[in-house]
């Protein structure tokens, strides 16, 4: 069963930036886009597990810091021609508060 958990405030994440949430089964990266949308992915690149939270965020995408794969924040999947997906988590904003389905 997954629940909505409050994980922080929008202002905790810099715009075009990311923060990490530690969890039992590995880190989750929370991204804030230039338009203040928030997304969450497992902090593991589908290529070689690079920490996506450390990448450059542009539009609704993040470029992995290790070998520059570009990952869509909306579903966690790599843009072609690369293949593979990072686990994607649902996120919702209620006012300033960020909720993660976990």
């Amino acid at each position: 069963m997954s629940d909505w958990i409050e994980v922080g405030k929008l202002s905790d994440i810099p715009r075009q930036g990311s923060r990490i949430i530690n969890s039992d089964d590995g880190d989750i990266a929370l991204f804030r886009t230039v338009d203040d949308e928030v997304f969450a992915l497992r902090d593991e690149c589908p290529h070689e597990k690079g920490p996506l939270s450390q990448g450059i965020i542009h539009g609704k995408r993040v470029t992995c810091p290790l070998h520059n794969w570009v990952i869509s924040l909306e579903d966690g999947c790599a843009l072609p021609p690369d293949e593979g997906c990072a686990t994607h988590f649902s996120v919702k904003l209620e006012g300033e508060s960020i909720f993660l389905k976990y």
Binding site: I5, V7, G8, D12, I13, P14, R15, Q16, G17, R19, I20, I21, N22, S23, D24, D25, D27, I28, L30, V34, D35, H47, E48, K49, G50, P51, Q54, G55, I56, I57, H58, G59, R61, T63, P65, L66, H67, N68, V70, P81, D82, L100, Y102
Partner: protein, 815 residues
């Protein structure tokens, strides 16, 4: 219900088949794999480099246990299958584990052939086949002295080389008078033997082992002529035998190997087989290239797509002993129907032989210079008529054209797209070039990841690198000024720089607006470039946008492949003190930093630091008087020096002092790409100043200034800019050169490429001839340094800058 595919033998050929199958039809089967070894799938070929200490077991894993989970494959490790019940269609392992199959794949490989001599079963007598054997050898090397390797073939020599490197006293025993007799002719074998002897390996040729001596552990060997030698370890490398026992017991048709058809089917239509256990026609195999071909055929048959057929092809051989270049294929020793063309230069250790029959190449032996190996091999396999090029053949492919003397690049250029680069994985030059250009690959690792070229035995690594250099090199000279910055715009780098100064743009947002960027906030290519152009144009005014910097420059440390970071404090001019070393040692202890490494840049790297520890590590280093070495920046990295006149009997000037002065002046600066300086005290050039962006070489009468060198894939030696007399001039010219570079080069364009693009005469004009201009440039450089020389570590360690980078937001748990 999906069909059940069971595979016996978790080795290279079998798993290659599964990988290919997953690519073609990921959901076609429920897959179960039995492996007698306790691991995932590893690169057996690389056991030699592991033994030689050049690789670790971790590095040679191809698919770890997680991979099997991720791909929903059931893996039974440590389980030897002992029975195939073809009526009930099930396999049974030693411990009773039982699996039913719809289709079965047998990929049991081969076993080392153990000489049937008395004593052959003694502990301390082993083969060279798996991780267990390598572990035994490494353990022996720790406690024992004398190793004997029986058999001077590929495997035997690689074992001998590895054991020697591990410190053992090694003797290779061989039945014939010529080593690697199946791959080498006499002259090449002699060169190889001399080389290996010079490394301290002993050879006993024409010696037939009669008995292995010892009571409860091996102590020596006796030969048929009565001679005895001592041994604490005996490695038998006299050949392999296809592992057919299991198949034979089940009544599947076997000869020397498990007999298969061209669709890899055995005599049972539900059972396939691939790998060294197989016999195809007369052939059995011992190298991966043909096995990987089998894998592709078998996968296409299992997937029911594209039904490929297997055909026997020639294989080529290379020896994986570092520093020995050897290539051989086809017929080694000709007869009266063949012609040999031979080139011999024993002083330089080069030997080349091509065996021709009816104007076609049927064999090649290369020693010492193997560059053209893959070209000859292509001609051999395709049966090309070489009568036209016969007189030039031995000088290689580059010499065929009009140009006469071709460098490496010409030779790579001359290769056809079909030319095979990586024999193991069947990757052609065309495949590599295509991957580089279409996917924008830059590094060997990326090319390896995308194409598999050089990912197995690694002996083609040099060639792959040359193709990368050749492909990207063309890109460099392809006047990058004409190319748009990235897909977000049609404007070029020069357009952007011009707009920034002319329209006085000081923020990314304003810049993207003014230039009508197509994306909301750019991409990972353009944002760092634009950010650099802004801060270079408006020091102190433009806001440095940290969200547009690569991670290393954002957190001021180098990210490592496991997500930890490395920390390199600045060590001025390569000089340190006992106090600094103590501080570094204390930091290493306190934060449990496992790797402390002297870098190629004359400083010390602390590797494996956890991200959350970074600010504290920096704080402690700051307390010891050290600041960031910017080992991560597109900016000044290191200033290397030699001891110079201060100590050296040849030194003509004080190079250490000069280096420190230059580093104090230039540290903290941002440049389009990394920037390195070195100062040597005399033309012997121990600081390698002539492959640096700015190199200073002291001479009796003053200082030579060299520019635009670099190491890297394609080494470029500096151009001499000019000679000056005083230390003050050195600093001024340095500042001026860096400033033109800062103001005019394209982001990520290192000085070598920049100077090649715009020409040295332009630099001379700006920095040497125009004295006023030089002074102004230097002043602008120093002005921007006022804003740049702030230690980023201190800001983060004690002023709390960017604290959010280093701490998790929160912790959550599955309740």
């Amino acid at each position: 219900m999906k069909e059940k595919l069971v595979m016996v033998g978790n080795g290279m050929a079998g798993m290659k088949t599964i990988e290919e199958l997953l690519k073609l039809a990921p959901d076609a089967y429920d897959i179960t794999v039995f492996g007698a070894e306790p691991f995932g799938n590893y690169n057996r070929i690389m056991l030699s480099p592991v033994l030689a200490g050049e690789k670790t077991i971790d590095e040679i894993m191809i698919n770890d246990l997680q991979w099997y989970k991720d791909n929903n494959i059931t893996l039974h490790t440590n389980k030897t299958v002992v029975e195939i019940d073809r009526t009930e269609k099930k396999v049974v392992a030693e411990d009773g584990t039982c699996e039913f199959y719809d289709r079965l794949l047998i990929a049991t490989g081969s076993n080392p052939f153990m000489l049937p001599v008395p004593g052959g079963q003694l502990p301390g007598v082993i083969g060279f086949r798996d991780i267990h054997d390598v572990d035994t050898m490494l353990d022996s090397a720790k406690t024992k002295k004398k190793a004997v390797v029986i058999g001077a073939g590929l495997l035997g020599l690689e074992a001998a080389n590895g054991l020697k490197l591990q410190g053992m006293d090694v003797t290779v025993v061989h039945l014939l008078d010529c080593l690697m007799e199946r791959q080498l002719d006499q002259p090449a074998a002699a060169l190889l033997q001399t080389e290996l002897e010079s490394r301290g390996i002993h050879f006993l040729m024409e010696a037939q082992t009669q008995e292995i001596l010892g009571d409860d552990y091996v102590t020596g060997l006796r030969f048929t002529d009565g001679v005895e030698i001592e041994a604490d370890l005996v490695v038998m490398a006299v050949g392999i035998r296809p592992n057919v026992e299991l198949a034979q017991k089940a009544g599947i048709h076997c000869d020397r190997g498990i007999v298969v058809s061209e669709t890899m089917l055995t005599s049972d239509p539900a059972i396939y087989s691939v790998g060294e256990c197989v016999q195809f026609g007369e052939h059995t195999y011992g190298l991966v290239a043909p096995l990987f071909d089998m894998a592709k055929v078998c996968a296409s048959q299992l997937a029911d797509i594209d039904h490929k057929h297997y055909a026997h092809t020639e294989t080529s051989t290379k020896l994986k002993v570092s520093g020995v270049d050897l290539f051989s294929a086809g017929v080694i020793n000709g007869d009266e129907t063949t012609d040999d063309i031979v080139f011999q230069d024993p002083a330089n250790g080069v030997y080349k032989k091509i065996v021709l029959k009816d104007q076609k190449i049927v064999g090649v032996v290369l020693y010492g210079d193997t560059f053209d190996g893959s070209w000859y091999f292509e001609l051999l396999r395709e049966g090309t008529d070489v009568s036209e090029m016969r007189t030039h053949l031995l000088f290689g492919q580059a010499h065929l054209g009009d140009s006469g003397h071709g460098g490496v690049n010409d030779a790579v250029a001359a290769m056809s797209d079909d030319a095979e680069i990586c024999g193991c994985n069947g990757v052609s030059k065309g495949d590599v070039v295509k991957a580089i250009t279409e996917k924008g690959l830059q590094t060997l690792d990326e090319v390896r990841a995308h194409t598999k070229a050089s990912a197995s035995c690694g002996s083609c690594t040099g060639l792959v690198e040359q193709v990368i250099a050749h492909t990207l090199g063309a890109d460099y000279s392809d006047s990058p000024s004409e190319k748009p910055v990235c897909k977000c715009t049609d404007y070029t780098h020069d357009d952007v720089r011009k707009a920034i100064t002319e329209q006085k743009l000081t923020s990314l947002k304003a810049l993207m607006n003014a230039m009508e960027w197509r994306t909301v906030d750019g991409c990972a290519s353009c944002r760092p470039a634009l950010n650099y152009y802004l801060i270079a144009a408006w020091p102190g005014k433009a806001q440095d946008d940290y969200r547009s910097r690569f991670i290393n420059e954002r957190v001021h440390a180098n990210i490592q492949k496991d997500g930890t970071y490395s920390v390199v404090p600045r060590i001025w001019g390569g000089l340190t003190t006992a106090d600094e070393l103590r501080t570094i040692a204390d930091v290493a202890d306190k934060y449990e930093i496992s790797t402390v490494k002297i870098t190629g840049g004359q400083r010390i790297d602390l590797l494996g630091v956890k991200k959350e520890d970074l600010p504290a590590v920096w704080g402690d280093l700051n307390k010891g008087g050290m600041i960031s070495g910017h080992a991560y920046s597109k900016g000044l990295r290191t200033v290397k020096t030699c001891v110079g006149q201060e100590w050296c009997r040849f030194g003509t000037q004080k190079s250490m002092q000069m280096g420190i002065e230059l580093e104090k002046m230039t540290w903290g600066s941002w440049t389009p790409a990394k920037f390195k300086i070195a100062v040597s005290g005399c033309p012997r050039n121990c600081a390698e100043a002539t492959i640096k962006d700015f190199g200073v070489v002291a001479v009796d009468s003053g200082w030579e200034l060299h520019v635009a060198g670099n190491g890297g894939i394609k080494v470029r030696v500096t151009d001499l800019l000019c000679k000056v007399q005083t230390a003050e001039e050195v600093r001024e010219y340095c500042g001026a050169f860096m400033q033109v570079y800062r103001e005019e080069a394209h982001y990520l364009e290192r000085t070598a490429h920049w100077v090649e693009r715009i020409g040295l005469s332009y630099i001379k004009q700006r920095v040497v001839e125009d004295a006023e201009g030089r002074k102004a440039l230097n002043e602008r450089f120093l002005e921007s340094q006022v804003y740049a020389q702030v230690d980023p570590w201190a800001q983060r360690a004690s002023e709390g800058v960017d604290a959010h980078e280093f701490a998790p937001l929160t912790q959550i748990n599955k309740s």
